[in-house]
């Protein structure tokens, strides 16, 4: 599949594939990002992969554009063969306490799904998800793809404050708020795990390409895990 390389202003380039939420396309984007990063081209400040595109941010006064363009061309060619990694290789398990005060929108999602709350939880934990990209907030992972039956749209009015650890749904995407923030996703549960730590050099617990499974826990276990963390 061909990609377009276009300016994203004069200090960044965007390598964009035909937009789609697709694991093998995303694997190709991640491979491309890794290859550009590995060239360590002077002046390149950030390489940012997303679902189906990747930005390369650079300082135009310190970057040899011919070298950068060649590196992107090489990476595009080499990444064409990228494959989705064996999902068993790096599966992150995230414990989640569903419903009640932890998941104020579980009831609304159950209504949307015309199913019981238990059934919504079952459909949410049944699947293994892929981390497609990190964005929106520090450490916020976009996970897909959610079972169509529980793919409720965003709330009509966003909440002013979503607590850190909250697990949300937005259509066929699911994700965990790593920090307190305003947000419009349907909140169905909360994890006691800390998914973003600014004190670490590798601050986000989840990385693009990771596989994620949610594991239901009860409020007692939530409290125990949260205490261990504190």
């Amino acid at each position: 599949m061909p990609a377009r390389v276009t300016p994203l202003g004069d200090s960044a380039l965007l390598v964009a594939f035909e937009p789609a939420i697709d694991a093998s396309l995303n694997a190709r984007v991640l491979s491309l990002a890794e290859r550009v990063r590995a060239r360590r081209i002077p002046g390149v400040r950030d390489v940012v992969p997303a679902y189906a595109s990747c930005a390369v941010h650079f300082d135009p006064l310190r970057t040899d554009r011919a070298e950068l363009d060649a590196a992107i061309g090489d990476a595009m060619a080499a990444s064409a063969a990228a494959r989705v990694a064996d999902p068993a290789a790096s599966t992150v398990h995230i414990p989640v306490c569903y419903g009640g005060p932890f998941g104020p929108d579980l009831e609304a999602v159950a209504t949307f799904a015309r199913a019981s709350e238990d059934e919504v939880v079952r459909l949410h934990v049944e699947r293994e998800y892929r981390v497609f990209m990190i964005g929106f907030l520090p450490g916020f992972a976009y996970l897909g793809t959610v079972d169509e039956r529980i793919a409720a749209p965003r709330r009509p009015t966003p909440r002013g404050l979503v607590r850190s650890g909250s697990v949300g749904l937005a259509g066929r995407q699911t994700g965990v708020y790593p920090v307190d923030a305003p947000g419009g996703w349907q909140i169905i549960g909360r994890t006691p795990l800390q998914l973003f730590d600014a004190a670490s050099d590798d601050p986000a617990r989840l990385s693009p390409g990771d596989a994620v499974r949610f594991v239901p826990i009860d409020p007692d276990e939530f409290a125990r895990t949260a205490r261990r963390r504190a």
Binding site: P7, L8, G9, D46, V47, L61, P138, G139, V179
Partner: protein, 309 residues
């Protein structure tokens, strides 16, 4: 090392350096000064490197007491003020002694000023930067703006000062402020028409605007309502949501966005954009990549020439 006591913090005063680069893939915004040119000018006037942390002042300045000697420079928005009962007008280089009181008064133009002190203002390094990102609560003083009663540290004392160049008030710009834009990555006819609409209207910076971005009012820019998959963005990108009110992404922007990226303000013009505030008017002119690079080289030359004096 000199301690600085914050008597009054001002409206929104934050510690900024050149930004938190290298962590956007983890969703961490870059942040950094809204007017990077004036941040650098203030730093070079006191002999600092470009990445030394400065205080970014917004609309109303702080009231500071220096408990030891420090060389200070103020650049960016044009303020008047006093140090030890002597009046100053920025851009300016000032020498503080133990007990000096630096106050800010009226602002003539621009919105954001930068206070540099020889050696730089100290703050813990968070993910490689001291820049304050208030929304993500990262950097600076525990990720928040200065508050009355805070105590800061200046990491040095004896720094050579340079004289203030006569053309340092360069950002005094016409009304409306004209910013050069390049066509953004969003493909298609609708984006092309939206780009043309950006070039033919005058916009007002709305009161909802902040360090993340400016919401632009005054003209509706047509774009289709097709949903878009989140993609990386950059500072200066002009996004057009389906409702048609463009958003100019600034220093604290998110790393990715889900709206059509129709245009991007060229890097050389971002410092002038950073001086805009609610109610200010702006208009866009078309620019090509070659001209954008030449403009950036020209503004870099001005700074290098000042550095070399």
């Amino acid at each position: 090392m000199t301690r600085v006591v914050v008597y009054r913090a001002g409206l929104l005063t934050t510690i900024q350096d050149e930004g938190r680069w290298g962590h956007q893939a983890a969703g961490v915004p870059v942040s950094g000064p809204m007017d990077g040119w004036s941040h650098r000018l203030a730093n070079l006037l006191v002999g600092n490197g470009r990445d030394a942390p400065t205080l970014e002042v917004t609309a109303t300045g702080p009231d500071l007491r220096f408990e030891g000697p420090a060389m200070i420079a103020i650049a960016g928005a044009r303020f008047a003020g006093e140090i030890d009962d002597r009046r100053w007008t920025s851009p300016v280089v000032l020498e503080a002694r133990a007990g000096s009181r630096l106050t800010f008064g009226a602002r003539q133009h621009g919105l954001r000023a930068y206070i540099a002190a020889g050696g730089g203002f100290d703050a813990p390094l968070v993910l490689g930067s001291r820049a304050t990102d208030v929304r993500s609560r990262l950097g600076g003083l525990a990720g928040r703006p200065l508050r009355d009663g805070d105590s800061l540290r200046v990491l040095g004392t004896a720094h050579a000062s340079r004289s203030v160049p006569p053309d340092a008030g360069w950002m005094l710009s016409a009304e409306p402020c004209r910013l050069r834009i390049m066509r953004g990555p969003e493909p298609g006819r609708a984006a092309e028409e939206a780009y043309e609409a950006l070039l033919s209207s005058v916009f007002t910076v709305s009161p909802r605007s902040d360090r993340m971005g400016y919401h632009l009012a005054g003209a509706s820019v047509p774009i289709d309502a097709a949903p878009r998959i989140s993609a990386p963005v950059a500072t200066g990108v002009v996004q057009v949501p389906p409702a048609g009110a463009p958003v100019l992404l600034m220093s604290d922007r998110q790393t990715t966005g889900g709206y059509a990226a129709v245009a991007a303000v060229i890097t050389a013009d971002l410092p002038r954009a950073g001086q805009l505030g609610p109610g200010d008017h702006l208009a866009f002119d078309a620019c090509e990549a070659d001209a954008a690079l030449l403009a950036l080289i020209a503004s870099e030359r001005t700074l290098l020439a000042l550095e070399g004096r």
